[in-house]
């Protein structure tokens, strides 16, 4: 735990080396300072050292300027969340110092740029202050013109010194980052890095060393959730997509636009989100599951066409990187408030699939799962991620791409006859033939948003509408029955069960660990298939006195949050309650525990 640092460092003490398991470093400055780059280097280094890593970033809504932070937690054991409090704060400016000192653990280290920050005497007793003229040193190392570009790398050198990080590995990472550019840029970067590393750190500071991580075997890859999702779609065989830019979804469309041509595919930037989903459905109809995506208002725009895909039973993957809503809302905030629109958005009865990755690795594999569900069940599948998971960098075991990558090319083999909406199939699953396929009977299908008969021709028959509505529902019930029941984290019986979905798995599990360490009876489950839900959750719930659904959305008119309301409706169980918040920040572990305590008046320790 990160307590280790605070306990071991002593101000003014002789320099010594202490060994630690993990550390939380928060870097605060302005967005143009390349703060994300420092965080990225540390994250990547951790990945290469087989350490666990998790990052947390806030991006300012303004384009340039604006306060920005990057928090990285690196550890030799399992790292579940980006950490409630920082062990080290690196503050580039006065405002960084003033607004982030409170996020530092008592007894933690604040390393500040003494060219910009005047520390507050009052705080000196609570935090170890270490002022280093970062700006001045950078000018000394690489000259005045490049200083704004080199400050972050110099700071990386300081961190490398403090934590005895692997210098050859970092040099290699810096080399990779600046390859292909003007060689003087790489030289400057290395000069700045070494100037930082050579700093004696005021001779007052003890330094730290990570205990060796256990080898996991195989390489680790380090990326953020948006990247993992984009690459997952490529691995899944997706070769066509369309989108319209909006934060935080844009990264995915930019990646696909850049990468797909190598595979002979195309991603189109359209005039709006309606065109984007329409074009993606056209791509799917043409024979290969296609993708569209958006965030916030863009998702609202897609709902009419989404309903068509449900009605016509057309496979499609829709990525929703959630942000704060409604309307333009809080574009750079984290929120899980799109569950309702994902599951129910649009008019009419329109069942579709919604899945939610819990971490960056999931983003990769669940993109593939989404494509396969869409294809098998001929249905739109929404992947719900959020601002938090989209931008956070994690390390995970490198997938075996040769095994994982799949080919979903269409099959044009002529058939004798074809009925896309065949009612005689017990599971209700439709199969479409892509245009170009010859049908020897000479009877060709129409795909349509009107209620239709088995060939796709319009019908006004109430009987057919009932049958087709049931067909579209039944296939998802079949999917639900095939889904794995989530594993319980912690014992299967106890006082409290925390239920989460999406990006909150890490802090929820850490809350379970912390509560259990304190002797409280808490377990958790994480739901990745939110619509349809897997069967059998009631058996899990029956083992607990309280089922608390932890969500980053409003409690709603009836007080249970978006998933909470669904679980209550399905299980009619009064012990299901919600723990909800809308502050736009990831859950802190202690926040979950405190809220759980207030919620369960009887206290945590029952059973």
């Amino acid at each position: 735990m990160s307590d280790s640092i605070a306990a071991m460092s002593s101000p003014g003490g002789a320099a010594k080396v202490s060994s630690i398991n993990e550390v939380v470093i928060r870097i605060a400055g302005n967005s143009q300072d390349g703060i994300q780059a420092i965080g990225g280097f540390l994250a990547r280094l951790a990945g290469r050292s087989e350490q666990e890593v998790m990052t947390f970033m806030t991006i300012p809504a303004t384009i340039s300027g604006g306060a920005s932070i990057f928090q990285v937690r690196m550890g030799s054991g399992e790292v579940l969340s980006s950490g409630d409090e920082a062990d080290v704060l690196m503050a580039f400016y006065q405002h960084s110092y003033d607004s982030h000192l409170s996020s530092l653990k008592k007894g933690g280290i604040v390393l500040f740029d003494s060219d910009h920050v005047v520390p507050n005497e009052e705080f000196k007793k609570d935090y170890h202050h270490l002022g280093i003229p970062i700006s001045g040193l950078t000018v000394e190392a690489i000259g005045g013109t490049a200083k704004d570009k080199g400050k972050n790398i110099l700071a990386l050198g300081l961190i490398a010194k403090m934590f005895d990080l692997n210098i050859p590995k970092l040099e290699k990472l810096i080399g990779e980052r600046f390859t292909g550019k003007d060689p003087s840029i790489l030289n400057n970067a290395l000069a700045a890095f070494h100037a930082g590393y050579a700093n004696p750190l005021g001779n007052v500071m003890e330094t730290f060393k990570f205990v060796a991580a256990q080898s996991k075997g195989g390489h680790q890859v380090v990326m953020n959730g948006n990247e993992a999702l984009g690459y997952g779609l490529i691995a899944a065989g997706v070769r066509f997509g369309a989108g319209y830019p909006i934060t935080p979804w844009s990264d995915i469309m930019e990646l696909l636009r850049r990468e797909l041509p190598k595979y002979g595919g195309t991603f189109v930037q359209t005039e709006d989100e309606i065109a984007a989903i329409s074009m993606a459905i056209g791509g799917s109809y043409a024979g290969r599951v296609a993708v569209t995506g958006s965030s916030g208002p863009g998702i609202s725009l897609k709902t009419e066409a989404l309903g068509w895909a449900v009605m016509a039973e057309m496979p499609l993957v829709i990525v929703d990187v959630q942000r704060g809503g409604p309307s333009t809302g809080m574009p750079t905030n984290i929120e899980q408030s799109d569950l309702n629109i994902a599951i129910n958005g649009g008019h009419g009865d329109s069942p579709r699939v919604v899945i939610a990755p819990a971490n960056v690795e999931d983003c990769f594999y669940m993109a593939i799962e989404a494509v396969n569900i869409a294809k098998k069940y001929s249905v739109p599948v929404i992947i719900l991620t959020d601002q938090g998971i989209a931008t956070r960098i994690e390390a995970f075991t490198e997938p075996n791409l040769e095994k994982v990558c799949q080919d979903i090319s269409p099959d044009f083999t002529p058939v004798a006859e074809h009925k896309p909406y065949d009612l005689s199939k017990p599971d209700g699953i439709t199969t479409h033939l892509p245009p170009g396929t010859k049908i020897n009977s000479g009877k060709y299908p129409i795909v349509t948003g009107l209620e239709h008969d088995e060939l796709g021709h319009p019908t006004g028959s109430p009987k057919l509408h009932m049958q087709m509505t049931a067909k579209r529902r039944k296939k998802l019930q079949a999917l639900g029955a095939s889904l794995p029941v989530p594993k319980i984290y912690g014992p299967p019986e106890g006082n409290i069960l925390l239920v989460g979905w999406g990006s909150t798995e890490g802090p929820i599990r850490e809350a379970v660990d912390r509560a259990r360490a304190a002797g409280d009876s808490v377990s958790s489950i994480h739901i990745k298939h939110v619509n349809p839900l897997p069967n059998g959750l009631e058996n899990i719930f029956s083992g607990f006195n309280h089922v608390l659904v932890v969500e980053m959305n409003d409690e709603g008119l009836y007080g249970f949050g978006q998933l909470g309301q669904i679980l209550r409706a399905r299980y009619c169980d009064a012990k299901i309650q919600g723990i909800n918040k809308t502050d736009g920040l990831t859950w802190k572990v202690k926040e979950i525990l405190e809220r759980a305590k207030t919620n369960v008046s009887a206290g945590l320790r029952k059973l």
């Binding site: 329409s278 056209g282 024979g287 066409a305 170009g436 948003g449």
Partner: protein, 317 residues
């Protein structure tokens, strides 16, 4: 180009991994008969202009020996947009106003197909107006035939974006007050590379325009006047010689590559001219994307898809 409809492409252009459909060679198959092309009996009112457009689409399919599986007909919502149900071929009845982006999705991922889109004036210029502009400017390869009846037919006589001033509709009982859109001007200024005008009362002309549109490598747009006998009877009489009107073809002297001349033609008061107003050859979006792909794929020749992805992952270690 039209040949894509009757020949098996060597390789399906920019989607490298889409194998071309296996179909018998050209000589083994005869063209389709009208009986084989016709599907559901049209639900249009007797006398509706849309019947002629459908009949001429059948003629086109017959004449150009297109095969069932190669015909892809896409439409939005409206009376005219019911078109795909009446054609015995792969067809799509999409949502109101969004047929063009859907068709673009097919066109850009399936260069072996020529996509035809049919729809009404409301579908094209009101709810779908922005898609019209962008599909035209991107020059996505397809043929778009707007069956313009100057009214909303399916929803029973509301003002359409092409209704002339003074037209008495259910939403303008005193006569339309909003200035109408001029589809030809709209298409030219949006950047369409083929812009033609025809009318359902001149079958030979409709067929000629359809053929020329289909042969055009790019976004080809036809405004086909198509009378709604139910809600706007007689709208186009002034263009029909049998009703005492005049059918003026585009003058022989007109230079179809001259954008300003085309714009001027489009400014003529009704009944104006019929024929090809504008036609230029510009690289299509399909061709441009294929070019980007060829250049990126040349850097990864011989690699399997997973090996291409592996190169990215190597950098993420």
């Amino acid at each position: 180009m039209s040949q894509t409809l009757t020949e098996t492409p060597e390789r399906a252009g920019n989607i490298a991994t889409v194998a071309a459909p296996v179909v018998p060679a050209t000589e083994e198959r005869k063209g389709l008969t009208k009986k084989e092309i016709a599907a559901d009996h049209p639900t249009w009112c007797p006398g509706c202009g849309d019947f002629s457009v459908l009949a001429l689409y059948f003629k086109l399919i017959e004449k150009r020996k297109m095969w069932h599986e190669k015909i892809t007909t896409v439409a939005g919502i409206g009376c005219s947009s019911r078109f795909p149900y009446f054609v015995q071929a792969h067809g799509v009845h999409f949502i109101h106003g969004r047929a063009l982006p859907f068709a673009s999705g097919i066109s850009l991922s399936r260069p072996d197909l020529h996509v035809f889109v049919f729809g009404g004036d409301g579908d094209a210029f009101s709810i779908g107006g922005n898609h019209f502009n962008h599909t035209a400017r991107k020059n996505v390869k397809m043929t778009y035939c707007v069956m313009d009846n100057w009214v909303y037919g399916l929803t029973k006589k509301q003002t359409s974006p092409t209704s002339p001033l003074g037209f008495k509709s259910k939403t303008d009982q005193w006569g339309a007050v909003d200035y109408p859109i001029n589809p030809m001007k709209q298409a030219i200024s949006a950047g369409a590379t083929f812009v033609a005008r025809t009318t359902h009362t001149n079958p030979n002309h409709v067929l000629a325009m359809m053929e020329a549109a289909m042969d055009h490598d790019g976004f080809s747009f036809i405004e086909c006047l198509s009378e709604c006998v139910e809600f706007y009877e007689g709208a186009f009489d002034a263009s029909n010689p049998r009703k005492g009107g005049v059918f003026n073809e585009v003058p022989k002297s007109h230079d179809v590559t001259d954008e300003f001349a085309a714009y001027k033609l489009a400014s003529e008061p009704f009944p104006g001219n019929f024929g090809i107003f504008y036609k230029v050859n510009k690289p299509t979006k399909n061709a441009k994307e294929a070019e980007i792909n060829a250049s990126y794929q040349s850097k990864v020749t011989g690699l399997k898809d997973w090996q291409i992805l592996q190169k990215n992952f190597d950098k993420l270690r």
